[in-house]
Symmetry: C2
Subunit: 798 residues, 2 copies
């Protein structure tokens, strides 16, 4: 195991002593103790299950202090604590295993190998023991949490539940502690009134908001809110979505300029509900429990947890619009309420107002995918009170989710999905059959308007997609942004986060990015990185204004290595000027020296019917055939083997000159790491089911980690891109194209951050139909690539 911690704040000795005193490790008496006595004193404070003399005795006899002696034996011999003793005992406290993780004769070796934070001083003075113990409390155990959090999950902080509200929250090393009793959390519901009437019933849409807050808020403690806008969390209509999924067995056709379809519009509501009274007490409780485990972790640490599914979901009004401005407004309506700028009611009928009186007005948003997307959308409004978002695998423009360069494009794994399908899938008002009965016809009508407006016929960028592009508003962002994205996410693709990252470069807000090796997943329960601590440090700073220097302590960009497991490195830039490399496409493969040539290569998109059907049914079979076989439906270009390891960063750009045998066509490209190696498994490995406790007798999470596959593979696709040959200049505008016409184009592939191991080759594969993402026409179209005018650029190669 290798530990990677980024969220340990360097603090002064004064602060260490204050915090250790707060936790009961130090008091008036401890000043008198020698270094060794102080060490035993600290150890004794970790006897939680049995603090009696017998329990202490059991601990001393069960713990090894040298390769030969137990702690009990060392103590009997009055041996002074040494660095080795401290480390050996610490390894046991951190749940590392003798003979597996460490050799008891050499604890210092394990300490380095596991990458535990280095002890700086000799341990002969009490001050050094204090330093070392403080650092140990910040250090991660084998089970993926800090030692202080591990102690917490064993009940260490339970006595602090009794502290008066005015003395809470508590922070340790800049991060909030779990000093709020989970059994006393208050769960309640309010209905926020929006300025929308998306279901055209003449009434402003009310949206249901679920709140979890500590009991201390009833005693005057005002706290910030962590808000997750999740269109999924009131249920989904999977069968309906499946039924609505579009066929991708369609042919691409020639596009002529035509009028853009209308986009659906909603009435502007005129009057607010009148207020029939006010209260500070909610009426409805909530049975549904928070499901994002990161939020569960925060819920006992001084953050209110807010969920809202928004318009068009169960118990709320309105329609699901899949990313429209109305959905953004509904999303920020909750923030406005939390910030005292908007009304909410206790129920849907009585018009009794209730404010978020318990809230400090500071809000963060969390969540992955659609949830992170709404967080991003909210941030681009510049809404007051939103201090930060942690957007994971988030969309910044829906066009790039369901379209690409004038093509209909499916998110990886979901051929035929589109905006209307997702709207239907998340329209959970179906879950209340009586409510649904009354809006069914109107919503179906809306879905049809939406289907016309999104325009699968041309795949062009239009007003529908312009409405769902948040990037032009990045300039309005006031919140600090933490982004998380999987380098293998083919669902929400890498250009979604790269655009946001780039757009934030010159804004006066902090930006942080974590790139991991997963697909479309959460990473808050990974063993090798202290992501939860990172979030805690960040939110303690942004929402509680703790002066923990989070902006400086946390690197701007943390990227997980794809070759060596459990390796995370930090940098400050995704692309670094001056490090670009260019390869020409040649009949010998990718070559760095440019050669003038009239050579060309061709491929034809049509397949025998059998093969076409196999590929359609099993895109993974197509994928392997595409990049590993000599075939007529693609052409492959490879570099020679590289002698040294390379780090490839940024947005690869492909310039191609080509002709096509008909008056329409699409060019697709994949960038491939060729080389036989044991690569990471696609999905993380479960290390410990429900093994990560998020508090004391509170929710749990599954501890996970990326591990190497048992068997080697021959390649890994690291990037890709697609373009309609009639959208060479813009996805919004149609270019002419005639059969045999020679055209040039530049195609940006998905951004990369890839470690290409020595001995591997970089490959580029050009083809047309992508069985994972595009339509499948199986048409006899020949593409001829003019090699002399075709090349690939990677902006940063180190």
């Amino acid at each position: 195991m290798k530990n990677n911690q980024f969220a340990i704040q360097p603090v002064s000795t004064h602060q260490k002593i204050a915090e250790l005193t707060q936790l009961g490790f130090l008091d008036d008496q401890t000043d008198q103790l020698t270094a060794t006595e102080l060490w035993y004193h600290f150890l004794r404070h970790t006897m939680l299950e049995n603090p009696s003399e017998a329990g202490w005795h059991a601990f001393l006899t069960q713990t090894l202090a040298t390769s030969d002696l137990t702690l009990a034996e060392c103590r009997a011999q009055q041996r002074p604590v040494s660095r080795h003793m401290f480390q050996l005992v610490a390894l046991q406290l951190l749940a590392f295993e003798v003979d597996v993780d460490y050799d008891p004769a050499h604890p210092d070796v394990a300490w380095r190998t596991i990458q535990l934070p280095a002890l700086e001083h000799a341990l002969d003075q009490p001050a050094a023991i204090i330093d070392a113990w403080y650092l140990l409390l910040c250090t991660h155990t084998k089970n993926g949490q800090s030692f202080i959090d591990a102690l917490t999950s064993r009940g260490f902080l339970v006595p602090l539940y009794q502290l008066p509200a005015t003395q809470k929250p508590l922070f340790f090393n800049g991060k909030a502690l779990a000093v709020f009793d989970p059994t006393q959390l208050i769960n309640e519901v309010v209905y926020v009134e929006t300025d929308l009437d998306t279901d055209s019933d003449g009434q402003r849409d009310l949206i249901k908001v679920e709140i979890t807050r500590p009991a201390e808020t009833n005693d005057g403690l005002q706290i910030p809110a962590v808000y997750t806008a999740s269109p999924y969390n009131q249920g989904t209509n999977d069968a309906w979505g499946e039924k609505m999924t579009h066929s991708v067995a369609t042919k691409l056709t020639h596009k002529d300029p035509q009028q853009q379809p209308d986009i659906p519009a909603f009435p502007t509501p005129t009057s607010h509900r009148s207020t029939q009274g006010e209260t500070t007490t909610a009426e409805e409780t909530v049975h549904h429990q928070a499901t994002y485990t990161l939020n569960n972790y925060l819920a006992v640490r001084g953050f209110a947890i807010i969920y809202s599914a928004g318009i068009g979901t169960k118990d709320s009004d309105g329609f699901q619009t899949c990313g429209s401005p109305e959905q953004t407004l509904a999303t920020i309506a909750v923030i406005e309420w939390l910030n005292g700028q908007r009304r909410a009611f206790t129920n849907r009928t009585d018009q009794i107002e209730i404010s978020a009186w318990w809230c400090s007005g500071n809000v963060a948003m969390t969540g992955r995918s659609y949830l992170g997307t709404l967080a991003t959308a909210a941030a681009t409004t510049g809404v007051t009170g939103l201090k930060t978002i942690i957007s994971e695998a988030a969309i910044s423009s829906w066009y790039d989710y369901y379209r690409e360069n004038g093509l209909v494009m499916a998110p990886g794994g979901f051929p035929g999905e589109d905006a209307d399908v997702l709207a239907a899938e998340t329209f959970s008002r179906t879950k209340n059959a009586g409510d649904y009965h009354h809006v069914q016809a109107a919503f179906n009508d809306y879905l049809q308007q939406m289907a016309r407006a999104m325009d699968r016929a041309t795949g062009n960028y239009n007003d529908f997609w312009r409405q769902r592009n948040y990037r032009p508003n990045i300039k309005n962002i006031q919140a600090d942004i933490m982004m998380v994205h999987g380098l293998n996410d083919w669902n929400v693709k890498l250009n979604q986060v790269k655009s946001l990252w780039d757009g934030l470069a010159d804004l006066p807000v902090a930006r942080k990015l974590v790139l991991h090796q997963g697909q479309h997943i959460y990473i808050n329960a990974f063993r090798s990185i202290d992501f939860t601590d990172i979030v805690n440090l960040w939110l303690s700073n942004k929402l509680w204004q703790v002066d923990n220097h989070a902006n400086d302590v946390l690197p701007d960009l943390i990227a997980q290595d794809n070759v060596v497991p459990e390796t995370w490195t930090s940098t400050d830039q995704w692309e670094q000027p001056g490090h670009a490399r260019q390869w020409q496409l040649t009949t010998d493969g990718l070559r760095e020296r440019a050669v003038a040539t009239t050579d060309s290569v061709t491929f034809n998109d049509q397949l025998p019917v059998d093969q076409f059907q196999t590929f359609s049914r099993q895109p993974t079979v197509w994928q392997t055939a595409l990049v590993t076989t000599n075939n007529a439906f693609s052409c492959q270009f490879k570099t020679p083997q590289f002698k040294d390891d390379l780090l490839l960063q940024g947005t690869p750009e492909l310039t191609v000159s080509l002709t096509v045998s008909v008056d329409h066509g699409m060019l697709s490209a994949q960038l491939v790491d060729y080389g036989t190696a044991r690569r990471f498994n696609v999905s993380p490995t479960m290390l410990n089911r429900q093994g990560l406790e998020l508090g004391y007798h509170w929710q749990k999470d599954d501890l996970r980690e990326f591990t190497l596959a048992d068997r080697p593979s021959d390649y890994h696709v690291i990037s890709f891109g697609h373009i309609n040959l009639q959208n060479r200049h813009s996805s919004a505008q149609i270019d002419a194209l005639a059969a045999g016409q020679r055209v040039a184009l530049t195609l940006k592939l998905q951004p990369i951050f890839h470690h290409l191991a020595a001995g591997h080759r970089l490959g580029l594969v050009l083809f047309s139909t992508d069985f994972g993402m595009t339509v499948r026409g199986n048409e006899a179209i020949t593409y001829r690539i003019e090699l002399g005018e075709s090349h690939l650029v990677i902006p940063t190669v180190r």
Copy 2:
């Protein structure tokens, strides 16, 4: 979805009224209500999140009562309740989805299709509404729990937490209700003194016992205990186990009679610890939380939950012995303590006694695999107090786990594992490095003795395995037995449970068996069967003596169909006399008409090196090649296609006459269902992660179900067997064998309960090396099968 409920107890109207009154549905006032009024009254009682008028109004408007009208509209029109209205509203209460699970115009159709318990009466009288509502509370929701449990998870029973201890527990329909507050559970530890000294330190081995009991036990309530003996639950030594795993790349050799190895022995301890005092208060609490979700479910329903890892585990004394009589004695020591027959101490040193004063003395055991094995072992001692065991995927003889008919045999998926490996893996005293340090040498010495005694050289049955065979003691069983086993469990194989089932036939105890389509898994969170209710009914009867007729209500044998998902049928026998069918092996395949013939077929066990290596690395590749290709290393026999569906039950028996080209050899056989069909996925599909709540704000489980694979497969292996040709008469005794000698033998294959679909064929494949389970010698050995004297019998074919 299809619902299968076996645990609904038919009860009298009197009992229904009493129980509904207890739950607050009925009171003095309700006598006056009409049928329709009573229905609304019941519905109103399910308003848990918002019981106000507004909440009730929201419910009425959100619920559909006819295909066109909401409940609010029907109520305004004063429509009387009809059966259709009751069913339509009930479908919504049970979380079924409009247009997906039911057509609102035909709720009765969905009711039948989903297999919800039939409403018997017209609903025009209050008595009929009471009947229907009572039954509805017993009926399962779409989310795999009874409606009363679904209400429970929303807080319905919270007011009953306040009942005095003397009025608890409460039962509904013969099953215990969750009326114990999970936040008030007491977690404590004691150390039971055994009569063993397996680590030879001169002291009786103490074993750690973890207890979870409701707070009401402190107020005089004595309750029964559900005890799980889990050698795993203090941690495992995976790396050590891997290192100790034996090589299977070894050749089978000729066996000559030889002396049996000695078995390890332990000293008999002479004196007990003296008692230094007594207490009723435990000293140590436990941080570790119960991990078997079935136990979590029971923990809030009036059952104390007990875990003990036993000898040789963290915080206990002694050695891990892998199933020896000592381990059985340590296992029942806990029951003896719970039953007042044995001493325990508050800690390991002070010798302060503590009794299980809160326990009624009635004990059940639960758990799967090794856990279920120890439950089985405990039951065969006839120990007082053990009223029942629920043994899942349990071993009844360790010989059949690690050996078979004179062969070393791996549990499926674990080639090279053996008793010594498992002992090392579960010896969690390693987790206390100081404790481990002092017993390391002695335990290693014991492991070596064990390795000699288990005798991988011959694979014969000997005293080591005799000690670990619980079947001769089945006759001592006093407890009622519920068994659960996966029909695809190749780890703990089907003959383990069949032997126990058969052995119990004539004993004066109740026996119940559930056979499911899983491998080596738990089934308590499956949607299509009410397994948790079955257990609740069973334990309420066995431990609380509730007169719920569990023995009669529950079928003796419930088996899951392997063709149609969500189909469970009940029967009372595994094998039914008079239904045997026999097939002769012929050159035309398996034929029912016996023919005199001197035909023979041959196969040779040697493979080309490449193929041998591929098969060794990837046993699944071998498996497919074995049964689907014409090859020289096996011979296949198939029946013609069957015209009708067949149910194949019991232990298939293969009689073979053969010669082998050398003086040693092993014959292996697989029974195969041939036919192209979409079969069940190997593992259950997760329907709802953490979607099954086991109480109110309490632990959760993942809702699962077996679903059909997306793609058809061509075969499924349904049984198998292996035999050493030198153990034709007994696994304990060596037969002579010379090259070319003709021998006859009978091989029992693993028991089956298999639905062979019409159009499929039954196949028998004979071969030698099993890359999944046997050693792999890759030796040129030719086997010649004499067809005229070879046949297959299946004892029950219907």
